[in-house]
């Protein structure tokens, strides 16, 4: 850890609590002028929250923020951050789609007002775009809503680096290359280098670990709201990063979550029904196949097509499908994004659970209260969901128990196929173990599971794993040959055996 003297930003003991959730647990971080800092970590590690604190959009629950050695806590907000030269490009693009490019630039700079401001705004954005992305071809008068995702990201980045009345001293880039093409990404990396030479600091958050290591001086790894590693980029490898991001202190977990039950001998038995047959990418013939009774895992870095595959399977089961996707059997979907895609916040535990079994529980559309309660209680007991009363509001449960309810919802419906979208995210080790045992059991009785997970350790529970990279399958790995190294390399597209 460096000394605070001469640093641009110093964060000491920064913590942030959202109700019962601890998003940040005592972060110490120093950023020097003209330095490029890489920040890596899984979703939910706290990277974005930390950047929000730095940018002034969120007030920390405790801790000290020092800028140029001066404590700025009181009244530190976005405007002050802007005045001090801090800019941020968030992961969720924040441009206004109904406004033009130059108008969006105006939104960031209060000084772009008064007579002739459109001309000045156009000039600023053109100059910055030309500097960062030569040959960009973006019209300053274009409506942002009509720009392709890559160009929107370019505009957002340029806007952050643009200076009008205040100099830019620190730019935070949260997944800036997620929508950029190869050439633009390279241009951005080059510009970052140029900028730091000119004294501008950059914070670079990305899932593309190779990119991060190649372009930053120092790397910070975050996990569960804390910094678990801080080292010079030259001293770290991708594999080490991935390890520290997710699997690090999980050796115990690995042992417990990898239940290796006896499996009935497959050879010589009757061929099991194909439940899913899916080709994720039109550019590659590789197909994903799931049989009855199997637990198949989808791996690879987040956002490389796994979720799309799950949703395609779901849609195909509703009626649809075709050459690229064929599904035989009923499906149920379990999402890991509880708030956005899973929970019905106004309902009780029981109602959240039974909504997936409407077909089975209802007789001519009518739902008997007794039957419903019995079903909810049965699953509550079966999965050991910690609630004394199934009629408690769902939001009174802990995250892990909420997730159990969602899994119960999927199982209770009696579907042949379960599609699981990173369901164990943010769930404690004990719950994970129980859930995987349940999955094993159900698989033994003929259900099949297609599981997408961002934690490599969980893949131990799968019979087979498909690794995704850039929307296509790069490798299919059998459990017997499953090693972390193999998954890792396939995640970066360095596949050995192609399907």
């Amino acid at each position: 850890m460096r000394e605070g003297t001469g640093s641009l930003v110093a964060l000491e003991g920064i913590a942030k609590q959202f109700g019962a959730v601890r998003a940040l647990a005592g972060i110490d971080l120093v950023i020097d002028p003209g330095e490029t800092l890489g920040v890596v970590g899984h979703n939910g590690a706290g990277k974005t929250t930390l950047m929000h604190v730095l940018n002034g959009t969120i007030q920390p629950s405790s801790g000290v923020i020092r800028i140029d050695g001066v404590e700025v806590n009181v009244g530190y907000d976005v405007r002050r951050a802007y005045a001090l030269g801090i800019r941020c490009v968030f992961q969720e693009l924040s441009l206004s789609p109904n406004l033009r490019v130059f108008e969006n630039v105006r939104l960031l700079h209060r000084s772009l007002s008064g007579f002739g401001w459109p001309g000045r705004a156009r000039r600023v954005v053109r100059e910055t775009l030309d500097a960062i992305f030569p040959g960009h071809g973006i019209d300053a008068d274009a409506l942002v809503g009509e720009l392709p995702a890559a160009q929107r990201q370019m505009v957002e980045i340029a806007r952050a680096f643009s200076a009008t009345d205040r100099p830019v001293r620190l730019v935070i880039l949260d997944e800036p290359t997620s929508s950029l093409g190869g050439q633009e990404a390279e241009q951005l990396m080059r510009y970052m280098h140029t900028a730091t030479q000119a004294g501008v600091s950059c914070v670079f958050i990305s899932h593309r670990l190779k990119e991060v290591l190649a372009n930053v001086e120092r790397v910070v790894v975050m996990r569960d709201g804390t910094v678990v590693a801080q080292q010079r980029a030259s001293e770290m490898s991708e594999g080490q990063l991935v390890e520290r991001m997710g699997v690090m202190a999980q050796t115990a977990e690995r042992a417990s979550t990898s239940a290796r039950p006896e499996r009935a001998a497959r050879e010589g038995g009757p061929a099991r029904a194909v439940r899913i047959d899916l080709r994720p990418s039109p550019r590659s013939p590789a197909r994903l196949v799931v049989h009855a009774g199997e637990v198949v895992g989808l791996a690879g870095l987040d956002g490389h097509g796994q979720r799309t595959a799950l949703l395609a399977a779901f849609a195909a089961a509703q009626g649809g499908g075709g050459e690229a996707v064929q599904v035989h059997g009923t499906v149920a979907y379990v999402s890991g994004d509880r708030q956005g895609e899973g929970l019905f916040p106004l309902w009780s535990v029981g109602r959240n659970l039974t909504i997936g079994s409407m077909g089975r529980l209802a007789h001519s559309g009518w739902l008997s209260r007794r039957a419903e309660l019995a079903e909810a209680r049965h699953w509550r007991d079966h999965l050991a969901i910690k609630t004394p009363d199934v009629e408690q509001p769902i939001l009174s449960l802990s995250g892990g128990n909420q997730q159990k309810v969602l899994i119960a919802r999927g199982l209770a419906g009696g579907a042949d196929i379960l599609l699981l979208d990173d369901p164990m995210r943010g769930v404690d080790v004990g719950t994970k173990r129980e859930m995987f045992e349940e999955i094993r059991q159900e698989a033994g009785q003929g259900k099949c599971f297609l599981l997408y997970t961002t934690e490599t350790a969980e893949l131990q529970n799968c019979d087979r794993v498909y690794v995704f990279y850039r929307g296509a399958i790069t490798e299919e790995i059998d459990r017997a040959s499953l090693t972390e190294d193999r998954v890792l390399r396939a995640s970066f597209g360095e596949a050995g055996v192609h399907v």
Binding site: S94, L99, G137, G303, G471
Partner: protein, 327 residues
């Protein structure tokens, strides 16, 4: 969640398209209603050539004066992704206050009208701070405006100052007043929302309020400003109604709310997303207005006026939806 990586290349933008043409491209949204209006006018002139004269146009479009300002008022609220269901009764209230006090106690009347504008701004602030649904707040407000109007003027009547009646009967050279006013209002609205630096912020309220806050703008000030502007346009609309009718009537504004909403939407606006076109709203107001005239010239009973207006709404919006799906 991070975006899916499609391993894509950047599609190079067509830098070939001249910048000037790009600048006016949003107004493609206004093309459809502009064409529709032109067709309607052409139809009217064919059926009734006398309408093509100065006086003819004056009479034909006269009632468009208050409606275009009402449409602009509704536009301000729709720009914030809200809706104002109290606009019609508010116009009625302004009408009654003007009819009762403007001639006899002008200072009082002006003070009250200014107070009403502030009340509108306060309503916007209230909606922002308490995060309330605008539809219900403005609904409640509509009762309040109606009640106040009835209290001011229990039965239709009142006296209207001469200057107001003369104002709406102005005869500018060459071009009739309604058209002059429409062009001026359209240009003013366009300048206000598209050319001023704060107008950009106002339009941002309706699309990405969170981003605006993150950039340091006050949503409270922005929303209050939009509603305050709506109040101003509403007051003007009410005054124009007073001038045209030369009397006050608490229920005069009943139809204005829905007509104004329709005008904004037909003119290229959308309920959410901060997408509005001030010139389009003015055009939309005339479209709604002229359906009645067109029908009567076609010897179709004006009973069907509402049907035609409804059909126009449906046509314009389904076309828009189709275009969206194709792109």
């Amino acid at each position: 969640m991070s975006d899916e990586v499609a391993g894509g290349k950047t599609t190079r933008d067509t830098a070939g398209e001249p910048a000037v043409r790009r600048r006016w491209r949003l107004d493609a949204r206004v093309m459809l209603p502009a064409v529709a209006l032109a067709v309607m006018l052409a139809g009217i002139f064919v059926l009734q050539p006398r309408a093509m004269s100065y006086n003819g146009l004056r009479l034909l479009l006269g009632l468009g004066l208050p409606l275009m300002f009402a449409a602009m008022a509704e536009l301000c609220v729709i720009a914030a992704s809200d809706i104002d269901f109290g606009l019609g009764t508010f116009i009625g209230l302004v009408n009654c206050i003007a009819a009762k006090y403007l001639a006899s106690e002008p200072l009082l009347a002006v003070a009250v009208l200014a107070g009403l504008v502030l009340a509108y701004a306060a309503m916007g602030a209230f909606i922002q701070v308490r995060r309330l649904p605008s539809i219900v707040v403005t609904l409640g407000a509509s009762f309040v405006w109606l009640g106040l109007a009835v209290l001011v003027l229990p039965s239709p009547g009142g006296a209207v100052p001469d200057w107001l009646t003369h104002l709406v009967r102005l005869r500018p050279p060459l071009v009739p007043l309604p058209i002059v006013a429409a062009v001026l209002l359209g240009l003013f609205g366009h300048w206000l929302f598209m050319r001023t630096s704060y107008g950009v912020v106002l339009r941002g309220v309706g699309s990405t309020p969170a981003s605006l806050e993150r950039a340091g703008w006050s949503l409270l000030v922005a929303r209050s400003t939009l509603y305050g502007l709506a109040g101003v346009f509403g007051v003007i609309a009410g005054l124009l109604v007073t001038g045209l009718n030369t009397s006050g009537d608490a229920t005069i504004g009943a139809a204005y709310t829905l007509l104004a909403v329709a005008a904004v939407i037909i003119g290229g606006g959308e309920f959410v997303g901060g997408v509005v076109s001030p010139p389009g709203a003015v055009i939309g107001a005339f479209i709604m207005l002229l359906t009645g005239a067109l029908l009567s010239f076609m010897d179709v009973s004006t009973d069907w006026q509402l049907s035609v207006q409804g059909a126009i709404l449906i046509l314009v919006l389904s076309t828009r939806a189709l275009q969206r799906r194709r792109s």
